[in-house]
């Protein structure tokens, strides 16, 4: 991928009840935001494991958003409170280890905050764009793929094998 064509890859882990629904509202309200963010829906922000973050970085994510219901608004009463402590530690740890601030961001977006969802997603995208490619993890990933190349099937090969099957 050439430098000028680079678009950041961003994943958002969102809870089903608030942020996912807030994103639905952004859609219903026809608000606009960048296409970089892909959502992964979980039931509650309390159910997001920090290893998901590492996995996403390993899969080439340049930025990650974790978002749930506002404190006191959690559909499950307390899931987000547990999440809050968890992320406080994890964020501190990652920062200490040299993961740039802004690669991993957190927000509370309620079901009625379509606009806030757009603002948050846009901010994360802009922040990550400004930071550029995730050098630290890219190096790790490049080293990994150099060591363990993934078998790549291109379309042609698949067609041929299918035709062979026939």
């Amino acid at each position: 991928m050439s430098e000028e064509k680079w678009e950041p890859k961003i994943v958002a882990f969102v809870c089903n009840w608030c942020t996912y629904t807030g994103a639905d509202l952004a859609g219903t309200s026809r608000l606009k935001y960048p296409t970089n963010v892909k959502l992964i829906r979980v039931m509650c922000s309390g159910g997001i494991d920090p290893v998901f973050i590492l996995k996403a970085f390993e899969r080439g994510a340049d930025g990650i958003l974790v978002s749930g219901c506002h404190p006191n608004d959690c559909h499950y009463n307390a899931g987000n409170f547990h999440a809050r402590r968890r992320w406080e530690f994890f964020d501190e740890l990652l920062k200490f280890l040299g993961i740039e601030e802004g690669r991993l961001q957190f927000s509370w977006v309620s079901a009625s905050e379509g606009k806030k969802f757009v603002d948050v997603v846009t901010k994360v995208t802009n922040d990550v764009k400004a930071m550029g490619q995730f050098k630290a993890y890219k190096d790790l990933n490049d080293e990994f793929t150099a060591k363990f190349p993934e078998p790549v099937l291109n379309e042609k090969e698949i067609i041929m094998s299918e035709e062979d099957a026939k």
């Binding site: 959502l39 159910g47 559909h75």
Partner: protein, 665 residues
């Protein structure tokens, strides 16, 4: 595994910005995908039939539907899948509409994103496990919180259908704000005359357990199976013995120490009181904060005069537990209080209107009491400061409403109507009086509503001035109201005898606390959130909890009543069957791997994690492990993320599924 991908155009909704045929084409090549097609309306009958046909013809094991939000049509497509023989939990929805086509303009980028989104779903569906829905029993009883007109209506409807109701009201009497009103718009019929029969009906209904002076403290459980703890506050009067004769009230020597909140603090009440003469139940309450007995143990006149020995100074609060299957929230509203100064309030307050320091600047409910035949002035228009009849009244609308700066952004909806009513009632009694209304817009949508406002202007000669008032000052008993008529473009100053502020309707101050107790979301103003603004306006997002009346947003009486009946109907729908089906999204612990640290138990919001002992054959406990009670588990997954050894998984959202989605990025 054979997977089918179905891309919906949703007419133009998705098709406009996402090149659906291209998405379908691209998905054909995803590993495991057997068939990938696009169609105009996937949720339509032909669309669903197409899905079913493909499932059967191609012997599909799972499907991915790229359409609208799963919150919209997940059920539809699951049903279609079931009809064609697939487990409903092997259906994944890709939200191509709300999360893609509607939020992007660039067709190229949106199409690329759509393909990636579908790819993620395909990877997830490959790891999905077939699940069976969970059945839970239903307790066919309803809890109604709030005994205003909405709560009364809901309770009566449910009870008349033959189901038991527990009606909880925090005040000593039911009736709510409607019992304070003088007349109601647009008919000008007497509020109490139409309300009190309903209150009595509630009291006498064999299916309704009425708990006044009570508050909900705790709600456990889930739809169909709530356990509610209610605090029945001590009245210090034995409800079984009291006949409501009222002798204690008339003899109580403490007459001026406490304000009468029913009269909106325009009058005093004794230490032992019923809120108003028609109170239901007609049983007094002793106010500990002012009663002499609680100060120095003396007095006790009420004890002497009570022939029934009903006075019990030592009575304590009681905690009562009730099992119910549905909860109807009908907690109503409060009026924005202009006495509040910025420091101790969430809203900023109107210093320019004097923060309530002027006695004759009153709010809407105070004016209702002044206008009411049963009120402190017995229906005579007298101003609070000196009891004189006001000859010039200024009404100001939108105080706190539509004011981002000092109040709230929303329109309180009813003020235009009740201000017109106030002005009308005043002009009907004080013929030589002048009534001015400062308004921004007149919002009078409703049957006979606009006609009502026109009547105030055309027949009763109320002067409407379009503009907000900037400041009120007092000079020699007159209130100088400075405004601008924006239609004439002229500054206007009125020297009024009295000013009535149509203050905003706001959520009850403890609404958010109650919402947290019950477990339902609320908006930034404290109003409870409905599950869907258009299609599910009565339900909260929490199953089995329904909303009625102004606790959801400002409403007038007919709307509140309609909503209450709707909430009652929703509760009865729940009671229509003996068992409830629940999504099988629950956590499960792997007994072999659990190390028994019980972090899952500590974080579980529902107490669904239990301790199980693992024993040897000879009965010796070798370890204790966690076990999830699936009846209690609500499927948040906080335990799964907390478990250090990853020995607990959430069905439908297991870690393998999520990893697959991440890998497909």
């Amino acid at each position: 595994m054979k997977i089918g991908v179905f891309i919906c155009h949703c007419g133009e909704n998705i098709g406009r910005t996402v090149d659906c045929p291209r998405v379908a084409k691209a998905c054909e090549w995803l590993p495991g995908v057997e068939v990938s097609i696009d169609y105009k309306y996937m949720c339509s009958d032909p669309g669903q039939n197409m899905i079913k046909k493909e499932i059967i013809d191609k012997k599909l094991d799972a499907i991915v539907v790229g359409s609208c939000s799963p919150h919209m049509h997940e059920k539809t497509f699951r049903k279609a899948a079931v009809a064609a023989g697939i487990n409903p939990f092997l259906v994944e929805i890709t939200n191509l509409r709300e999360h893609c086509s509607w939020v992007h303009d660039d067709i190229e980028a949106a199409t690329e994103k759509a393909i990636e989104m579908v790819r993620m779903s395909v990877e997830k569906v490959k790891r999905d496990q077939p699940l069976t829905t969970i059945e839970v029993p239903v307790t066919k009883r309803t809890l109604v919180i709030g005994g205003g007109i909405a709560g009364i209506q809901a309770a009566l409807d449910v009870a008349n259908a033959g189901y038991e109701v527990v009606l909880v009201e925090k005040e000593p009497s039911i009736g709510g704000h409607m019992s304070q009103l003088s007349e109601t718009f647009p008919t000008l019929d007497c509020s109490q005359c139409i309300l009190t029969p309903r209150m009595v009906e509630v009291y006498q209904h064999p299916k309704i357990k009425l708990m006044t002076f009570s508050e909900v403290e705790k709600v456990d459980g889930f739809i169909g199976n709530f356990t509610v703890t209610i605090r029945n506050k001590a009245r210090h009067i034995d409800e079984d013995k009291c006949t409501g004769c009222g002798l204690c009230i008339t003899k109580c020597p403490i007459r001026k120490k406490a304000y009468n909140s029913f009269e909106e603090n325009l009058a005093h009440r004794p230490a032992v009181y019923v809120p108003f003469p028609q109170a239901v139940p007609n049983i007094p309450v002793i106010d500990e904060t002012v009663c002499t007995h609680y100060k120095n143990g003396k007095c006790g006149i009420c004890v002497t005069v009570c022939g029934r020995e009903a006075i019990n100074f030592d009575q304590q609060d009681k905690l009562v537990t009730e099992e119910v299957g549905a909860i109807i929230m009908a907690t109503g509203y409060k009026l924005y209080n202009i006495d509040k100064k910025p420091d101790d309030s969430i809203y900023k307050g109107y210093g320019e209107y004097g923060y309530g320091k002027y006695k004759d600047v009153v709010d809407g409910l105070q004016f209702e009491r002044i206008a009411s035949a049963s009120g402190p002035t017995e229906g005579e228009f007298k101003r609070p400061s000196d009891g004189k009849e006001p000859k010039k009244i200024v009404f100001i609308q939108c105080v706190g409403s539509r004011d981002e700066s000092k109040g709230f952004s929303y329109c309180s909806k009813i003020c235009c109507m009740y201000t017109a009513k106030h002005a009308m009632l005043y002009k009907h009694k004080v013929h030589d009086g002048e009534a001015y209304v400062f308004y921004m817009d007149i919002r009078s949508g409703g049957k006979m509503y606009d006609e009502f406002v026109r009547r105030a202007i055309e027949e009763d000669g109320v002067k409407y001035i379009r503009g907000r008032v900037s400041k009120i000052t007092e000079e020699d008993g007159k209130y100088i109201v400075k405004g601008e008529d924006t239609l004439a473009g002229m500054p206007i100053t009125i020297e009024a005898d009295m000013v009535v502020l149509a203050t905003a309707m706001i959520a009850q101050p403890d609404a958010s606390t109650l919402a947290q107790t019950v477990g339902i979301p609320y908006d930034k103003h404290g109003f409870f959130n409905e599950a869907h603004p258009k299609l599910r306006p009565i339900e909260s997002t929490t199953g089995g909890v329904f909303l009625a009346g102004a606790c959801q947003s400002p409403k007038d009486i007919p709307e509140s009543v309609a909503m209450a009946s709707a909430a009652a109907a929703k509760a009865m729908v729940l009671f229509g069957s003996d068992k409830l089906e629940r999504e099988p999204v629950v956590a499960k612990v792997s007994a072999d791997l659990c190390a028994g640290c019980f972090l899952c138990k500590k974080v579980c919001p529902y107490g669904a994690v239990e301790v199980r002992e693992v024993k040897t054959r000879d009965g010796v406990v070798i370890k204790e492990i966690a076990y999830v009670n699936e009846g209690l588990c609500q499927g948040c997954g906080t335990c799964t993320a907390s478990c250090p050894s990853k020995s607990v998984e959430l069905a439908g959202f297991n870690n393998e599924e999520i990893f697959a989605q991440i890998a497909a990025l």
